[in-house]
């Protein structure tokens, strides 16, 4: 690890501290993510092994943050080895990027062509994960890294440590945001599918247009109510099986609102794509691959991706 000079702590990821660092020999900036290995008499835990392997496999895509290498360090203090995942460094994330537009004086919108390009790159990355049967499960603006100058967006924080469930609390006891969580997850479905990620993509799409979250709930119930108020309370007709999900209760009956009004200035093709991402029934929700062919992207020069 002497190869790297730690510059500053840039975050407390869900699974460990993240540092901005510099490769001493090349001067390249990197992000160092520390992961403790809970070794016992069975060596490297299979979950950690599979996660690193998945990351190593998936991060070949341009739309995922690149894993440059893995460094193994023996921890002298307690004998528990550390793995440092060394990622390429990007200067900001989509949350900060949106915030900078909202807080600028006067506030400015994200240019429509940039939203289109970011969404396309996001769908590319998600499609790549899904083609390898990997779900991200925690897509949110903080997890999307942005290179402002080049107009690049890349998915980060991939699948590390979440084999089956999305954690409610991170190891630092910071509450994990619910804003991008799909309704079937909130309702306690036991069967996750790739559609959970597409719901998050829809929420992120809307947030880029609005510069504020589409469904900012602060509890699981509040989160559902936010969704129902905009999209209407789901019915068995719309979403067969919804009322038999584990956490389903009787809810107030809201009528669906006009989605276009929630995303002012979004062109009609964009609203159409958004509505397909926010379908209640997971099996009706548009896939990442299909989204790439949606007419909303017709005006985008796809040759550069």
């Amino acid at each position: 690890m002497d190869k790297y000079e730690k510059l500053e702590k840039v975050g407390e990821g869900t699974y460990g501290k993240v540092y901005k660092a510099k490769d001493k020999s090349s001067g390249q900036l990197v992000a160092l993510k520390k992961t403790r290995l809970e070794m016992d008499e069975e060596g490297v835990p299979p979950t950690a092994l599979r996660e690193v392997a998945l990351l190593q496999m998936l991060s070949q895509s341009l739309y995922l943050v690149r894993l440059l290498c893995v460094e193994h360090v023996d921890n002298k203090k307690n004998g528990k080895p550390l793995l440092y995942l060394v990622f390429e460094y990007l200067d900001t994330d989509l949350k900060k990027f949106i915030d900078s537009h909202r807080k600028s004086i006067p506030p400015s919108s994200l240019p429509p062509t940039l939203i289109q390009s970011f969404l396309y790159q996001l769908c590319k990355g998600v499609s790549h994960c899904h083609s390898h049967s990997v779900l991200h499960r925690d897509l949110k603006p903080q997890n999307l890294l942005v290179d402002k100058d080049k107009g690049l967006l890349k998915i980060a924080d991939l699948g590390l440590g979440r084999a089956f469930t999305v954690p409610l609390k991170s190891y630092t006891h910071e509450i994990v945001t619910l804003w991008y969580r799909a309704p079937e997850v909130l309702l306690g479905t036991t069967h996750y599918s790739t559609a959970v990620d597409m719901w998050s993509v829809g929420c992120i799409f809307a947030e880029m247009v609005r510069r504020q979250a589409l469904f900012p709930g602060d509890s699981e119930l509040q989160q559902l109510l936010h969704i129902f108020r905009l999209l209407g309370t789901p019915t068995e007709d719309q979403w067969p099986g919804v009322s038999s999900l584990r956490d389903w209760h009787e809810y107030p009956q809201w009528k669906p609102q006009n989605l276009a009004r929630a995303v002012p200035n979004l062109e009609p093709e964009g609203v159409d794509l958004l509505s397909k991402m926010l379908q209640y029934d997971p099996s009706n929700r548009i896939s990442a691959k299909a989204a790439l062919d949606h007419p909303y992207f017709d005006s985008l020069d796809k040759s550069q991706y």
Partner: protein, 251 residues
Amino acid sequence: MAANFWASSHYKQLLEQEEVDVVHSPDKEKGFTLEDFKLIKMQMSNYIAKLAQYVKVRQRVVATAITYMRRVYTRKSMTEYEPHLVAPTCLYLASKAEESTVQARLLVFYIKKQYNDEKYRYEIKDILEMEMKVLEALNYYLVVYHPYRPLSQLLQDAGMTELTQLSWGLLNDTYKMDVILIYPPYMIALACIYIASVLKEKDTTAWFEELRADMNVVKNISMELLDFYDSQKVTADERIGAALHKLALKP
């Protein structure tokens, strides 16, 4: 572990024959030849398969373990990475990666059963130490695609399921060579079907033509496999013994 070979790290990790056939300098200094190198890798493939029978894991785990072992030796010497320790460690690692974890102590038990010779008997801590070294040698690339699934699919497509047993056996034997490091899995599957169909005198020309697969590659793999069988006619034991003896020499 995953579905799409062409987008996978395995595809990007395919090597040229010349990159695989490298005897590393510490081994060379002991008078180790390329032939010796290949023989020991074959012997270790057999050892992995043997241990796998005892600990009862699927063929897929065996195939992955052998692939790990062969990848390790494209980068590391046998002098530094003792084959009799690397082989069981690769099986241990593959069992974890393929979600059918075998306990280290069980493995150690069967290693001791296999070898009366003190120097090839290892303890749990040796395996765990080597695990980390193997992981680093593999650069944490653990996802491996195998020709087994393409083989069944292709045979089904072709309506030649009667060739399953023969071509499956041929496929198992390809792991005694380095082909899995060099060729895409479905090409290896096609080569096994090709040989099986020739042996069973089934005309598959039309089917292969329709597939538009590169027959040069298919025939190259087939030739390699047939050459391998030829070389096996000369009893290998003596040659393996001689090769292992060289490895045991102190540098």
